[in-house]
């Protein structure tokens, strides 16, 4: 999985490939190294092909850590399969998906 970050008013984290058992650890590690000053983190998911429950857990953990410092998390441009995963697990109810 490729992770790229763009800083501005928001921190945009673009994901490309698969967010699975192995890459979710890479994702968590990559973000934990960043000092997030922005008020909002946007996960740009248009190139995210696949997400498993491990990926969902990583996103949930990120949301919780951001919420602790009053920061927001948004997921943008999920593909239909990832949208279905969010819907089936109820993650579309607890994460802001656009």
């Amino acid at each position: 999985m490729e992770i790229s970050m763009k800083r501005g008013e928001e921190l945009v984290v673009a994901l490309k490939g698969r967010l699975d058992t192995v890459t979710s650890v890479e994702f968590t590690d990559a973000l934990s190294k960043e000092e997030i000053k922005e008020a909002k983190v946007i996960i740009e998911a248009k190139d995210l092909e696949y997400i498993s429950s491990a990926g969902l857990r990583a996103l949930l953990a990120l949301k919780k850590s951001l919420a602790a410092s009053n920061k927001a998390l948004e997921i943008h441009n999920l593909n239909p399969v990832c949208q279905e995963v969010f819907k089936v697990t109820g993650f579309n109810n607890i994460l802001t998906v656009k």
Partner: protein, 585 residues
């Protein structure tokens, strides 16, 4: 991604061993029971009683056909249906075999008194002793049949060790009871009846073991009287080879024994006894190996898991050949020791023994190949090659050849006939298979039909990274076969979540374990099978709170996102199957 997963047989090899050892012990116990039977009769009741028990052996073979043949045939059909995950069909086939087997055996018991004497009079020897022996076996046939049937089904229904314990306990009890019954009944002139009743009595004692199976939670086969569509045709087809084999063996043995009894005397008869007992020695050691064919291969054939089927079959084949070579070498190197095992009082020269043994022993490799053919082909629903083998080696070739060579060359002629019979049968059967394969579009010695679905088959060890690797490979495989993106991703997701769950929760300790994964691409469905030997775990029984706002459970995710999730405990392995319907994009 650099790691490419491949299929291996490490998981199946573990199961192979857990089935092989109990099976060898089981056959050993059964054969040992028969061996001791002869020893006890000879010692307690004398040589006349021993010869009476040998003479009526063909009748005993026939009486035991319902139990042996339906046990094998029924187990083949049940195993195949379990492999296809048709538990209801398997229960019906099990019930049908039990009901038919028990009905025939009860009929035998009912006619025991009127038929025992006329049957006994067919043989020479002491008619009263023959009558008692036949009577005892006929009266206890329902118990013997039940034992043979339940033992076969226990092995196929996740309880191979219990099945083996059942036979060991039964045969140990039989020996003790035989001594008791012969001693008690000998004075009243019914010692031979006591000897015959001991087999049934032993199985009655052993039946206590079957209670553990009948009350087991992992037992899948239960008796039902609704046996419509029970696959009677398949059962009879699978049963026919064993039944005809037993029947023809009995007839062949009867005819050959009559001729030998007339032709041979003295040392030649002793030598005949020595070499004919060799069959018993080979069957004692190789029979247990062949005995696992219906249980393991039947299930793999039902699953269309040809990789495991071929892997297990090759092992069975070569282990048998290996044992055969070892026994042959032992007998050839130590002919004196072999004679001593059977207590033979041979006064002739050792060179005669050696020449006869040489000719006779070389027939055992083709003998085991033919035994393999008889057992293997009905398991993969190819009864014809098995029947061809049986008819050739038990009737068509063997009888005329043996009778002619017995007349012309005596005992050496008999040995030559055995060798020619086995070799000719192997050659003819393999020529037959070659043409049969062409006609039925099967291939090779395994005679398996070409699968008309694309299949992805891998094994992986319990390394968490492999959950991701296999998921990605499955998705790529599906996409490369024009499966829509949604279904390709979902089948990969099901694989990752299930494998991750097995690796993290399936194994009690940190050990090196393997998981087999198979994906089949049907026209309108994807079928993903995940097989592991972790702790028994049925994911379909896990209850989730459907009202919770969200869930991070991988199991709940795949249960809801796939169209069907089923589970079966087969071969003491967890087998979870996911179905994903192709809806298109």
């Amino acid at each position: 991604m650099t790691t490419t997963l491949k299929r291996n047989s490490k998981l199946i090899n573990r199961k192979f061993i857990t089935y092989l050892i109990p099976s060898i012990l089981m056959i050993f116990a059964m054969q040992f029971g028969s061996l001791v039977d002869g020893i006890l009769i000879g010692n307690y009741l004398g040589p006349t009683a021993l010869s009476a028990s040998s003479l009526v052996m063909p009748i005993l073979y026939i009486v035991q056909i319902p139990g042996f043949a339906l046990g094998i045939g029924g187990a083949i059909v049940v195993a195949t249906l379990l492999g296809k995950r048709d538990v209801i069909g398997a229960k019906k086939a099990y019930s049908f075999s039990i009901i038919v087997g028990m009905s025939i055996s009860i009929l035998f018991a009912l006619i025991a008194f009127p038929v025992a004497e006329p049957l006994a009079s067919l043989f020479g020897g002491d008619t009263e002793l023959c009558r008692q022996y036949i009577l005892g076996f006929l009266l206890t046939d329902p118990i013997i049949t039940y034992a043979l049937l339940i033992g076969s089904f226990m092995a196929v229904d996740n309880s191979p060790k219990l099945s083996s314990v059942f036979y060991i306990v039964s045969n140990a009890a039989k020996v003790g009871l035989e001594v008791l019954l012969i001693t008690v009944m000998k004075d009243s002139g019914y010692g031979m009846l006591g000897a015959a009743l001991s087999t049934g009595a032993g199985y009655l004692v052993g039946a206590i073991v079957t209670i553990f199976y009948l009350t087991s939670k992992k037992k899948m086969l239960t008796l039902t009287f609704n046996i419509r569509n029970s696959g009677a045709k398949s059962i009879f087809k699978a049963t026919s080879a064993s039944a005809i084999n037993m029947f023809l063996t009995a007839i062949q043995m009867l005819i050959v024994n009559i001729f030998i009894g007339k032709l041979f005397t003295g040392d030649e008869l002793v030598l005949y006894g020595l070499i004919s007992n060799m069959v018993f020695l080979f069957d004692l050691l190789c029979g247990g190996v062949l005995n696992i064919i219906p249980n393991l291969c039947g299930i793999f054939y039902g699953e269309k898991d040809y990789y495991s089927l071929k892997s297990v079959t090759r092992k069975i084949y070569w282990i048998n050949i290996g044992i055969t070579v070892l026994i042959s070498l032992f007998v050839l190197i130590f002919p004196g020791a072999y004679c001593a095992i059977f207590g033979a009082d041979y006064s002739g020269d050792i060179a005669t023994i050696n020449s006869v043994l040489w000719v006779y022993l070389i027939s055992f490799i083709p003998y085991e190949i033919n035994k393999f053919s008889t057992n293997y082909y009905p398991t993969i629903d190819k009864t014809v090659p098995s029947m061809v083998t049986v008819f050739l080696r038990e009737l068509i070739i063997v009888l005329p050849l043996t009778l002619v060579l017995l007349h012309t060359n005596g005992l050496m002629g008999y040995c030559m006939a055995c060798w020619i019979n086995e070799v000719a049968t192997v050659i003819i059967v393999y020529i037959f298979i070659h043409f049969y394969n062409k006609r039925k579009k099967c291939s090779g010695i395994f005679m398996l039909e070409k699968l008309d679905v694309e299949s992805f088959d891998v094994s992986l060890d319990n390394n968490e990274q492999n959950a991701s690797i296999v998921s990605e490979q499955i998705t790529e495989f599906a996409k490369s076969h024009n499966i829509p993106n949604r279904e390709s991703q979902i089948v990969g997701l099901a694989a990752e979540e299930m494998v991750d769950n097995i690796i993290n929760h399936g194994y009690k300790k940190k050990s090196h374990d393997y998981i087999d994964i198979n994906l089949k691409l049907f026209k309108d469905t994807l079928l993903l099978r995940i097989r592991d030997d972790g702790v028994p775990f049925d994911p379909t029984k896990v209850e989730f709170d459907e009202k919770e706002e969200y869930s991070t459970s991988g199991l709940k995710l795949i249960k809801n996102i796939t169209d069907k999730m089923t589970y079966m405990r087969i071969l003491n392995l967890n087998n979870t199957v996911f179905e994903i319907k192709l809806k298109g994009e």
